[in-house]
């Protein structure tokens, strides 16, 4: 049975000791959709992200991916099922070259080293790091590291791509190119995405729908335009008196 929804979250709560990071979040994400997670710092965006990626196990609730309950699956199993991610604080393999970074993903999926050596170039090219392909990843700028993580994530051939603050820490002139690369993934290749992004202007290019979180609660969800127009969202984002 193919579910029209690639990802379903049902009543997800996450508690860290006495702190409730997420409270009763439910979400249905259609195939080929692109969802933005919005909210102020500490709203639970990264926690929700980690629940989807498998890095945080929810205290209650179920995660269904591609028609299968994956709530108890580890990150590596989620990756094999088709969930790929990038990190808010980039996690390059610094002792390896750009090409080798991508080869880790390819060989983990069972590709032979020799074949992976060639195939990695395709992903490195796509994210625009051709000139750096055999350079050490330790020498990359933040923007280039974000691109590297994107290449690595794509090399797992994901069904769902999770992008955590992809423009965070990136020098401003490099942002539009990065955003365009990601936009093409969604618009042209139809990749389903969940995006955490602070820049509202870039978010418009990346996502169609949005979920606004505040203090672990789901405040508003719908099209990006609807969410952005919501009075409560405007209040919080404009920093007006918020209780």
């Amino acid at each position: 049975m193919t579910d029209a929804n690639l990802l379903r979250l049902k009543d997800i709560s996450v508690r860290f000791g006495g702190l409730t990071a997420l409270n009763g979040i439910s979400l249905d994400l259609r195939r080929n959709a692109s969802l933005g997670l919005l909210g102020p710092n500490g709203a639970g965006k990264t926690t929700l992200f980690n629940v989807i990626a498998g890095a945080v196990r929810p205290s209650t609730g179920r995660v269904t991916f591609d028609g299968r309950d994956v709530t108890g699956d580890a990150t590596s199993a989620r990756s094999r099922a088709g969930v790929a991610r990038t990190f808010q604080i980039t996690q390059p393999f610094i002792s390896l070259t750009v090409r080798e970074n991508v080869m880790v993903a390819l060989t983990a999926a069972g590709m032979a080293m020799r074949q992976a050596h060639g195939a990695a170039a395709e992903y490195v090219d796509f994210v625009g790091l051709r000139a750096k392909i055999d350079d050490a990843a330790s020498g990359l700028s933040t923007g280039q590291r974000k691109r590297l993580e994107l290449a690595r994530a794509l090399a797992t051939r994901p069904k769902l791509l999770l992008l955590d603050e992809v423009t965070g820490g990136v020098d401003r002139p490099s942002i539009p190119g990065l955003v365009e690369t990601i936009r093409a993934l969604h618009a042209e290749r139809g990749l389903t995405m969940v995006v955490v992004e602070h820049h509202m202007d870039f978010l418009g290019a990346l996502v169609d729908e949005a979920l606004f979180l505040d203090q672990g609660e789901q405040l508003v969800s719908g099209s990006l335009a609807q969410v952005a127009a919501d009075a409560r969202v405007r209040d919080i984002y404009l920093g007006d008196a918020h209780v």
């Binding site: 991610r85 002792s95 390896l96 690595r152």
Partner: protein
């Protein structure tokens, strides 16, 4: 991966083995051959340990336990059951591998490196105490003596003998195992395994997100690493032919081997080899200083840690790069 393997690692290894193969035909002094035999066995030990300590980056401080398990396992099996040491050395390596799996399981759950260090260190201490107290079988600190030497081999009419007092054969045997183990390590590290281990060391989080099953990999590496160290212990047992718990799994063994890896270059393929060579030779050269020996030894280790923190292998790589530039 260049950082781990160095440039042209296969050629380097081949040249090294070629030079080492000539030595016993030129050097006839049995004492020198003995020192170099110890170097070869410790190089296998250090390279095996380097897999978890350096390449995977887990601060495991109990690998001398695997050395002792391999040594005692092989020695006792051949002594009490009369099995040929040619077979028991592999059993010794197997016992060490099983112990590696056993200690690997709790390590998986520990994220803090100081705790990994303490757990593995405590494990080694347990092994030492067990060996010291199983007196009926191991004779404790009195020493397990009378261990069989590796049975002689007849190579095309030439009989090669091994064990204490047979430096020529013992050296060549150690060299054969040194060559075999390092060739195997090189093949493994150049391929998918080496790539994945370095990735895990740099970021477990990212590796896991790329479908790398951390549990399976860590346990596998632990067993493999322990097996190599166990094999070196078994070879050592049948060469020295006497074992005590303190000499195999005591603090001096821990410090000596750790120093070899650090001085040679943690996480580098050639590091443990260079470290074992330097410190075995230096350690012997310092014997004439009597009580000051360990002081000087410690001083040399300090010098390297401060002056060449990437070890001899890292330092040589740096010189190579400067020359090339």
């Amino acid at each position: 991966m260049t950082e781990m393997l160095g440039r042209r690692p296969a050629l380097t290894l081949l040249l090294l083995i070629a030079v080492l193969a000539v030595i016993p035909f030129v050097v006839t002094n049995p004492y020198y051959l003995h020192v170099l035999t110890i170097f070869l066995l410790f190089a296998i030990f250090a390279s095996g340990w380097n897999l978890t300590l350096g390449i995977l980056g887990l601060k495991t401080l109990g690998h001398h336990a695997f050395f002792a398990l391999g040594a005692y396992g092989s020695a006792m099996l051949s002594h009490y059951a009369g099995v040929s040491p040619w077979a028991t050395i592999w059993v010794g390596a197997g016992i060490a591998a099983l112990a590696g799996l056993l200690i690997g399981v709790p390590i998986l759950r520990i994220r803090s490196m100081p705790h990994v260090a303490i757990v593995t260190l405590a494990f080694a201490e347990i092994i030492r105490l067990v060996l010291a107290n199983l007196k009926d079988w191991t004779r404790g600190e009195l020493g397990f003596w009378g261990i069989d030497a590796m049975p002689a081999l007849n190579l095309g009419g030439t009989v090669v003998e091994f064990g204490t007092g047979k430096p020529f054969g013992s050296y060549l045997l150690a060299l054969a195992f040194f060559a075999g183990v390092h060739a195997l390590l090189l093949v493994v590290l150049r391929g998918r395994i080496g790539l994945t281990l370095v990735a895990m060391r740099d970021s477990e989080l990212a590796a896991e997100s790329l479908a790398v099953d951390l549990t399976r990999w860590k346990l596998g590496v632990f067993a493999f690493s322990a097996a190599i160290v166990g094999l070196s212990g078994a070879l050592y047992a049948h060469y020295i032919q006497i074992l005590t718990p303190t000499s195999t799994v005591g603090p001096e063994m821990l410090v000596t081997l750790l120093a070899m890896i650090i001085v040679g270059g943690v996480g580098r393929f050639t590091g443990p080899i260079l470290g074992a060579l330097l410190l075995t030779v230096v350690g012997e050269a310092l014997r004439e200083f009597g009580d000051y020996r360990m002081l000087l030894y410690g001083g040399i280790v300090m010098l390297f840690v401060l002056g060449a923190p990437r070890g001899l292998a890292g330092w040589l790589a740096l010189i190579g790069r400067r020359r090339a530039a």
